[in-house]
């Protein structure tokens, strides 16, 4: 799925997206990775080049799959909501869901599949608890439309938004252990880990979680 709702911030030195770099940091070199909703394969290429991973992808758009094929990435045209069920248990070291969970029909089922297929799951998503979202809803009384969430409510692909706190709750429900969590601020910089959850939930524009089956 190609980047629902986000205008990605990039690292000026490398040109790579900051959230991709964050995900890349979490992956052990040489591991087997499945990127669900891999878009044009930018993250998979980064993982292949920097971490030497054996990477696979699922992508719903034909254009995305074509772009991945041209990069030599083995990517399957498919839908996270329907096709994850076909993967065997423990098939990958990591299953990545990058900026995609909010666009799935059944986020909980998808997350359960991630934890089943991969020994670890990495999930990144835009935080709907960010203060600007809250102002739109709480003060203006309108569905939020920000630079990072540019869609109107009626044409957005993002049908299941959540806040960082909501996601933490979901992780508990599905029995996922949080090995690492990072919130990125408006500048795309990681926020201090010592800050309490409520600060992350208010100031974090997006979050990246490294999860493990309990």
């Amino acid at each position: 799925m190609s980047l629902p709702g986000t205008l990605p911030l990039t690292d000026t030195a490398s040109g790579h997206r900051l959230d991709f770099l964050m995900v890349t940091d979490m992956v052990e070199p040489g591991s087997r990775v499945l990127d669900v909703g891999c878009g044009d394969g930018a993250l998979l290429s980064l993982l292949r080049d920097r971490k030497g991973v054996d990477g696979r992808g699922i992508e719903i758009s034909r254009e995305g799959v074509a772009a991945c094929l041209a990069k030599g990435l083995p990517v399957i045209q498919g839908d996270a909501d329907t096709d994850l069920a076909d993967y065997p248990d423990d098939a990958f070291d990591y299953v990545i869901l990058s900026q995609t969970i909010q666009a799935t029909r059944q986020p909980k089922v998808v997350l359960e599949h991630l934890l089943r297929i991969g020994r670890r799951a990495i999930v990144s998503f835009p935080n709907f608890g960010h203060w600007r979202v809250r102002i739109d809803l709480g003060v203006r009384g309108r569905m939020p439309m920000t630079e990072n969430l540019p869609y109107s409510w009626y044409d957005t692909p993002n049908i299941h938004f959540c806040t960082i706190r909501d996601f933490v709750e979901l992780c508990r429900d599905v029995g996922a252990q949080m090995e690492k969590a990072v919130a990125l601020n408006a500048g795309g910089q990681p926020m201090r880990v010592t800050l309490p959850w409520w600060v992350w939930n208010l100031l974090g524009e997006q979050a990246v979680f490294l999860l493990k089956r309990r």
Binding site: L69, K71, V75, Y87
Partner: protein
């Protein structure tokens, strides 16, 4: 080969041909379909009594021969060989004019200079299948034991037999590992079989519009075709070549039926609708009033001019028997376990003969086997035939996959 209804020169030819008889009439043959059987106008590799082809039917076929064409140049390390596998009624003339029909090669859109299978970079091989009638040993070939055509004495052929024969050819050419094996429909079945039979000899595989097993519906269509051939009194229990007859009507009917399955309802309607053929009103007869009837009759007649009826029985049977999982305890994933081959599977949205679900079954099995697999479903309304036609999305996917694999393989 199947051809696109309106895009093909055959169709234009047909518009000039008056096929309006109350029954189909067959003109005297332009060229004898058996003319290519023993001494084809292509390369031939011959295998003697001491090099039999071990067939699934339990027969050691010897002597035997395989007719093939090559394009491009084999590089020094012999790492740039691509094998093209043809579909049901195709042949080795993938990228040159066909010696029987005089028509251009059947996959010029995919194979040639600058095409996805680029003959400037790759050494491309395409061979007629065992059981065929274009120079590889088949039921029309002379049985050395009798001096007569084999006819039904020829052993029943399977897709693994076809692949075994190709492997013998590849051995003779001194090629250890194929860079890529490419094919659509029955050709795609051979691609899958190659990967299963010789995993270490296939660097990459591109099966298109195909399945890992032939469906009950497809077996049913084939059976109707075979019965049409065998119901023709001229078939003579398969001995028509000995008796100087030809089951032209039966084979033409088989082709007409099959041709419908290669197209989609949408494509048929767009090209023909309910339009009348050279008339303003129905004739209240069983003439070919409708364009679609005329078209199908033409397709039937054109086919019998180039194809042997018994060969048609044998190659359709080979597809029917095809079921990779059955050979591996019912598990397709087991068949591909540990495969080092890189796969790219392509299907078409309007293909109801080999629907996307068939391709997805292959992809799921490859995933379960932890294989490297890409998959694209191309949007097209042209039905099963789409793989032979101008489909830019398919070419883009094939090119991306092949180029990336060539980089990994170190092919310039």
């Amino acid at each position: 080969m199947f051809v696109d209804a309106t895009a093909s020169p055959q169709y234009r030819l047909f518009e000039r041909t008056n096929v309006s008889a109350d029954n189909m009439s067959f003109a005297p043959l332009v060229s004898e379909p058996r003319s290519q059987v023993d001494d084809p106008s292509s390369l031939v590799m011959r295998f003697g009594q001491d090099e039999p082809l071990m067939m699934d039917a339990g027969i050691a076929l010897a002597p035997w021969q395989i007719a093939y064409q090559t394009y491009g140049t084999l590089n020094e390390t012999k790492s740039n060989a691509v094998l093209i596998c043809h579909a049901l009624t195709g042949d080795q003339h993938v990228a040159n004019d066909n010696p029987v029909t005089g028509k251009p090669g059947w996959w010029l859109t995919m194979v040639g200079p600058g095409r996805p299978v680029d003959t400037n970079r790759f050494f491309v091989i395409c061979a007629n299948v065992i059981g065929g009638c274009m120079g590889t040993t088949g039921p029309a070939s002379i049985n050395p034991a009798t001096g007569q055509p084999y006819a039904l004495d020829f052993p029943v052929v399977t897709v693994p037999d076809m692949v075994r024969a190709q492997a013998a050819l590849i051995d003779r050419l001194g090629i250890e590992k194929l860079f890529c094996v490419v094919g659509g429909s029955m050709g795609g079945m051979q691609v899958l079989q190659w990967a299963v039979s010789y995993p270490d000899r296939v660097f990459s595989a591109l099966p298109i519009a195909t399945a890992a097993r032939h469906s009950a519906q497809n077996i049913a269509f084939h059976e109707v075709g075979r019965q049409a051939v065998m119901a023709d009194p001229e078939w003579r229990g398969g001995r028509y070549l000995n008796e100087g007859t030809r089951p032209s009507k039966g084979l033409a009917v088989a082709r007409m039926g099959a041709h419908i399955t290669y197209l989609s309802e949408v494509a048929l309607h767009r090209k023909f609708g309910r339009n009348f053929q050279d008339r303003a009103a129905p004739t209240f007869s069983f003439d070919a009033d409708f364009q679609i009837e005329s078209y199908l009759r033409y397709q039937g007649i054109a086919f019998v001019e180039r194809f042997d009826a018994n060969s048609y029985l044998y190659v359709t049977r080979a597809m029917d028997y095809f079921d990779i999982a059955a050979e591996h305890g019912g598990s397709l994933a087991k068949a591909f376990k540990g495969t080092p081959t890189r796969f790219c599977v392509i299907s078409f949205t309007s293909d109801w003969l080999f629907p996307t679900s068939d391709s997805r079954a292959i992809v799921h099995a490859l995933n379960a086997a932890a294989a490297s697999v890409a998959f694209v479903e191309v949007e097209s309304d042209k039905g099963h035939d789409a793989f032979l036609l101008e489909e830019p999305e398919m070419f883009a996917a094939a090119r991306g996959f092949i180029d990336a694999a060539a980089r990994v393989r170190g092919i310039a």
